[in-house]
């Protein structure tokens, strides 16, 4: 079977799944009618459980709501346990079969296509299904006439092959996990329909052969993200979070769209291969000193990436996106969708090579986001929020790598991160599942022996993300740090920020592990009664991902270790995708073996230090953090409240621009627009009155005066018409005689 020409089928399978759910989902999973109404009745909780979330971004001063948030989940789950568990219809099994099955099919086809791709000499394969947007002629910026046409076409190259394997592979595991995790929830078919739809759009995104089609997938995954964040739509916070994600992403998308349009104007095409060919043809100089049109394009694309990939300043939606079910957080908001920005920037590598200034911006934003989010993650108490900030931070790493020109490293980190972050999220979901919806780590602890599989898999994930040698996170993160240090684009500052972030990462992950699994149990007694390990449908994906988290990194072992070509497979595989002169130059950066060893040792040391401190703080002496919080209250408050960024945005944009603008626009509407309308109305009435007066007196007057004159003149003549026939006859005779007289006398 020639899988390469069947790559169009890969996105089609999940679309079929979504379509089936749309058509038959309700039949397969009938809903009990009253449940939404009951769930809406969740009352605010009065104890302090809700405090971990009491600074809900976007609606800080809404007190009831703050409290509700912490416990809604618990209540939903409790409620679901109580009422729905026994009523889960048997036909749900079909949904469990169809939806993950479709993704599995996609994965098999992806695998086949990638294997066949590796046998091609050029390792690039493009198919064009049909013309999607037919040729539209336009004038380029340089005055040439070009034609804009977009194909419904797919491009499989090393970069997109990595992406489709991650999306379908990890997507399949998370689908399997979700069959177990969502079993107690309403809207089972709705969830899986959206999930499959997401996979479809994500595959469109990574397989598209031009920016326009990529944008379709880009917006599609945004839509699915919105739908799934707001999956528990009866909760206001979930709906708000969905809207926030959607709106913040639109800001980025505006940048993307502008970049794309400008690319069309400057380069005349949005097809990846065309763009790359145009840029590497030598017609374009690198914009090192000037800020030219290429820089604007690259900046626009990067702004799009900051929205989708949650970089500063558009990262604010991602922590809130944790309102969605945990599999959603794992799949969309950790492993795949949020990496779309990294993919898109990596896809534009040929462009970025020519715009070093934008690369600097990318690296700076990435590094800043990495450390910024990591510091927030230090003090969060919601288990999913810690992971959310961790995700933002890790995405920052990827952008740091992109910004120093180490594109393959960014994709490598994307790859390894997909494993361990999906794993961590799924484990946190398993913990939440076990505790019946509890997300606050202050109400966990000591779960190690109660849910051993979850504990061990999460341990593996945490070790992987912390950067302990031998696991996935170490290899990719260390390569990023090394590139940040050694690449011509890099600098010691970037390296140091990355290193500090690595330490913070290790710390907050071990804080999470300690608060959740070790020490004394702080679980509420009524919850503790039925803590249970998750069903196989959930822990099998966990174990699989844990294995992946261990071994994924061995595809990119540092050259320094001298293990041979096979252990640098990832870089070699991606090389054709980023083949350009500048990348070659970047790789030649000062390679000093001893320096690299030292840096590696430092980064391992700082990870171990972070782990040790966390263990010491939260396991041995839990009173220390409290003491520190008391000592540096304002700093803790600053971190705890996420640097008040949400409040600042609320003040500036929501209340400032949006509401203030609304007020101004309202006033404008009332006074200027309405005034104009009313004024026009008044003017019309006035002019019509004028017109009436004119008609009555002038037009009618003229007519009447005319008739009056005629009447006046005709009056004497009228007198002749006496009605007497003989007088008429006399006039005739007189007239006749007059003519006769004239005729005779002439």
């Amino acid at each position: 079977m020639n899988f390469l020409d069947l790559i169009w089928l890969i996105p089609l399978f999940p679309l079929c799944g979504a379509g089936l759910m749309l058509l038959f989902g309700k039949m397969l999973d009938p809903q009990p009618p009253s449940t939404v109404a009951v769930a809406e009745g969740v009352e605010p909780v009065h104890d302090d459980h809700g405090h971990g979330h009491s600074h809900e971004p976007g609606h800080t001063h809404d007190h009831d709501h703050d409290h509700a948030h912490g416990h809604d989940h618990a209540h939903d789950h409790d409620h679901d346990h109580a009422h729905d568990h026994h009523h889960a219809p048997a036909t749900r099994g079909l949904i469990k079969l169809i939806c993950p099955g479709m993704v599995l099919l996609s994965f098999i086809f992806s695998l086949g296509a990638v294997v066949q791709l590796s046998n091609l000499p050029e390792r690039i394969h493009e198919i064009r299904q049909f013309t999607w947007i037919a040729g539209m002629p336009f004038h380029m910026a340089n005055g040439h006439l070009a034609t804009f046409a977009a194909d419904w076409g797919f491009l499989l190259d090393p970069l997109s092959s990595v992406m489709i394997l991650v999306v379908t592979g990890i997507g399949f595991l998370i689908h399997v996990y979700a069959t177990g995790y969502m079993d107690h929830d309403q809207g089972y078919y709705r969830f899986f329909g959206y999930f499959n739809l997401f996979i479809f759009f994500m595959l469109m995104l990574v397989l598209a052969n031009n920016y326009t089609l990529l944008f379709v997938g880009w917006e599609g995954v945004g839509l699915c993200s919105y739908l799934l964040i707001g999956f528990y739509f009866h909760k206001k916070s979930a709906g708000d979070a969905g809207k926030k994600a959607f709106i913040v992403n639109r800001v980025g998308d505006a940048g993307f769209l502008l970049g794309m349009l400008m690319m069309l104007s400057v380069l005349g095409s949005v097809r990846f291969t065309d763009v790359r060919a145009a840029l590497s043809s030598g017609g374009w100089q690198a914009e090192t000193a000037v800020w030219g049109s290429l820089s604007w394009i690259a900046l626009g694309l990067f702004i799009g990436a900051t929205g989708k990939s949650a970089q500063f300043p558009l990262y604010v939606w991602l922590p809130d996106a944790m309102e969605g079910p945990t599999p959603v957080s794992a799949l969309i908001h950790a492993a795949t969708m949020v990496t779309a920005g990294v993919y898109m920037v990596a896809r534009s590598a040929a462009l970025l090579e020519l715009t070093p200034q934008v690369l600097t911006i990318v690296a700076s934003v990435g590094a800043f986001t990495a450390i910024f989010a990591a510091t927030i993650g230090l003090v969060q108490n919601d288990i999913k929020r810690v992971l959310a900030y961790s995700t933002v931070s890790q995405l920052g790493y990827m952008f740091l790598a992109l910004g120093v020109g180490a594109y393959w490293v960014a994709v490598f980190h994307l790859f390894t991160h997909a494993f361990f972050k999906a794993l961590l999220f799924l484990c946190s979901g398993s913990v939440i599942h076990a505790l019946g919806g509890e997300q606050d780590m202050r109400h966990m602890g000591g779960l190690k022996d109660k849910i051993p599989i979850t504990h061990w898999t999460m341990w593996v994930g945490s070790v992987a993300i912390a950067g302990i040698p031998g696991l996935a996170g170490f290899f990719s993160k260390d390569e990023i740090l090394w590139q940040a240090y050694s690449s011509p684009q890099g600098s010691k500052i970037l390296w140091f920020v990355g290193l500090a972030t690595a330490g913070l990462t290790a710390f907050y992950m071990w804080r999470l592990m300690n608060m959740t699994f070790y020490g004394k149990s702080r679980v509420a007694p009524e919850v503790a009664a039925h803590i249970h390990e998750s069903p196989p449908s959930m822990y099998v994906p966990l174990v699989t991902l844990a294995v992946g988290s261990v071994f994924a990194g061995w595809l990119g072992v540092p050259k320094l270790w001298g293990l041979g070509e096979r252990f640098q497979a990832f870089e070699a595989w991606l090389e054709p995708a980023f083949k350009s002169a500048a990348v070659e130059a970047a790789k030649e950066g000062a390679h000093d073996a001893s320096t690299e060893w030292i840096l590696m040792a430092i980064s391992v040391a700082i990870a171990i230090i972070g782990i040790t401190i966390a263990r010491w703080f939260y396991h041995r002496k839990p009173e220390i953090p409290e003491a520190i919080y008391a000592r540096v209250g304002p700093l803790h408050g600053l971190l705890y409240n996420k640097y008040y960024v949400d409040e600042i945005y609320d003040f500036l944009f929501v209340n400032g621009f949006a509401k203030g603008g609304g007020t101004v626009l309202g006033a404008f509407d009332r006074n200027v627009v309405d005034g104009g309308v009313n004024g026009a109305g008044w003017l019309t009435r006035f002019s019509s009155k004028l017109s009436i007066w004119w008609d009555t007196w002038i037009i009618d007057g003229a007519v009447r005066f005319g008739s009056f004159c005629v009447k006046l003149l005709s009056y004497p003549v009228c007198l002749l018409q006496s009605g007497r026939v003989q007088s008429y006859a006399l006039f005739v005779v007189i007239g006749f005689l007059a003519f006769l007289g004239y005729y005779v006398s002439r």
Binding site: G723, V725, Q726, L730, V733
Partner: protein, 101 residues
């Protein structure tokens, strides 16, 4: 004395004048109608005279048409007169001014 065309024409003119004066001066509609007959007959004499003089039969034929016309006109006129008399109890022209403006 030879009777020439002039004599006929004189008679014709005389008849015309008598008829005209009759139409203009008499009050009785019957007499007015009779005077109209006189005028028409004056015309007839004229037509016959010139027909005879120029040896053209057209004049005589035309005269017969005029006589027919006179008959029709008298019939209509007398009809109107009877209708008028029934409504207004008068046959005097100066007492009827229905066509006044």
């Amino acid at each position: 004395m030879q009777i020439s065309e002039t004599h006929y024409l004189v008679v014709s003119v005389a008849l015309l004048l008598i008829g005209t004066v009759g139409v203009l001066t008499r009050r009785n509609i019957v007499i007015i109608l009779m005077s109209i007959e006189l005028i028409l007959n004056a015309v007839n004499i004229n037509l016959i005279t010139f027909s005879q003089a120029w040896k053209n039969m057209g004049g005589q034929i035309f005269a017969i048409f005029v006589i027919t016309d006179a008959v029709a006109e008298a019939a209509v006129g007398l009809g109107i007169l009877i209708a008028l008399f029934r409504n207004k109890e008068t046959v005097l022209a100066d007492e009827v001014d229905l066509l006044k403006w």
